[in-house]
Assembly symmetry: D2
Homo-oligomer: 132 residues x 4
């Protein structure tokens, strides 16, 4: 199991007229933490794409406990474990200080970017993921 996190300052752009962060933006926050998760295992998503492998999302779920607001300094934490399958679940939590605001997960499938078909992660990535 591996965990990584990223800090994020909420811009005005992310708010809506209720004064809260608009609910779709949390999926972007989740992505930010996933990017750091992959960087932390020494194999960025960008490098994976350069090898012709993508990880599109096939399922996402989000529970909204408390609203984030403009100028909040958030911490987004991603956790992942891999069972050697062609799918990967990443759990994400969004905190403001100690307070858990939002949590959820995304499920991803390894995809051959040329064919658009499911694939297995390449050897190097498999090794990195297995070593976790």
């Amino acid at each position: 199991m591996i965990t990584a996190s990223v800090e994020y300052r909420v811009p005005y752009a992310d708010t809506d007229q209720m004064g809260f962060v608009y609910y779709a933006n949390y999926l972007v926050y989740f992505e930010r933490s996933r990017n750091e998760l992959m960087r932390s295992i020494g194999f960025t998503y960008k490098e994976m794409e350069a090898l012709g492998i993508g990880l599109p999302v096939i399922e996402a779920k989000i529970n909204y406990h408390r609203p984030a607001k403009y100028d909040d300094l958030l911490k987004i934490v991603a956790t992942c474990s891999w069972d050697h399958g062609i799918r990967l679940q990443i759990d994400c939590k969004v905190f403001r200080g100690e307070e858990l605001l939002v949590e959820g997960y995304t499920i991803h499938a390894f995809m051959n970017l040329k064919t658009g078909r499911p694939t297995r992660p390449n050897e190097e990535l498999t090794a990195k993921l297995t070593a976790l």
Copy 2:
């Protein structure tokens, strides 16, 4: 039970470098269909907010079957039934022609916009929802 739908042409803005609609945008598509759903019962979300009642999302789930692409003409269909509670689930499906691309739901809680506390829908909205 009530159903409403809206057509939507995918702009370049919604795509990502994989050539697909970025996964967070579907939550905005869901919102577009919810807005039409409320308009169709004769009580828009804007009117409800003017009465001091909001419907923030407390849970969302999305299943991504096939990617939408730039310039696709999508149809987003929202369906809702209400059991007189303080929560409301709205199911959404995104179609390209006959093809189901994405489906999911959102769960909403009626909220007093001044206090930020849960509330019940007002009489008029209750009547409209009950009549469905």
Copy 3:
């Protein structure tokens, strides 16, 4: 000179906590009208890209006169004239009813999508643009 327009209903997603449409979103609105402009000349942007030609924006300017708001039904009007050069200016205006809310322009350069280098529009597009 050619003109095309598109209607657009403002979702909650586009608002910010000031209760206005967030200022970056108008550039997406401009894009929506450009897409219809190209469709109206019988050569969509998607078809142009399929031929390996893109039209990235190299300059944009926007004047914000009055704010658009949630649930507004906007009309975005794009106007374009082409002088046979490798650049193209498209002027856009955003209306709510008769009221002009926002106006601006974008300047685009024809680009070979494989090389990333400036290029000229192909023969068919040249003919279509010249016929205007």
Copy 4:
């Protein structure tokens, strides 16, 4: 004259199918640097809003020199000088390393958030801006 900057890692969300950061997103990047600019003078935008004063954008201009891409670590630099008027211009530049990718400016008007009318900055903000 005052300058502040912020680092920003480009997420997949910001890209489009051309593989570049979609052109509207730079206005959000500009905002991120403006937020840090105000924080650096000891008077955040959030604090200003709490006093009932807003700074909506009335004009924006952007020149796109080179595209930013996914996973780029950008530096956005904002510079501002104030002539005691009711308007404020902020110049922004987006860098990747030493490379200038995008530059532009926004012009803002001090606005009374209750009345929606132009106003003057309050005493404390005037003092802070004058001290620059």
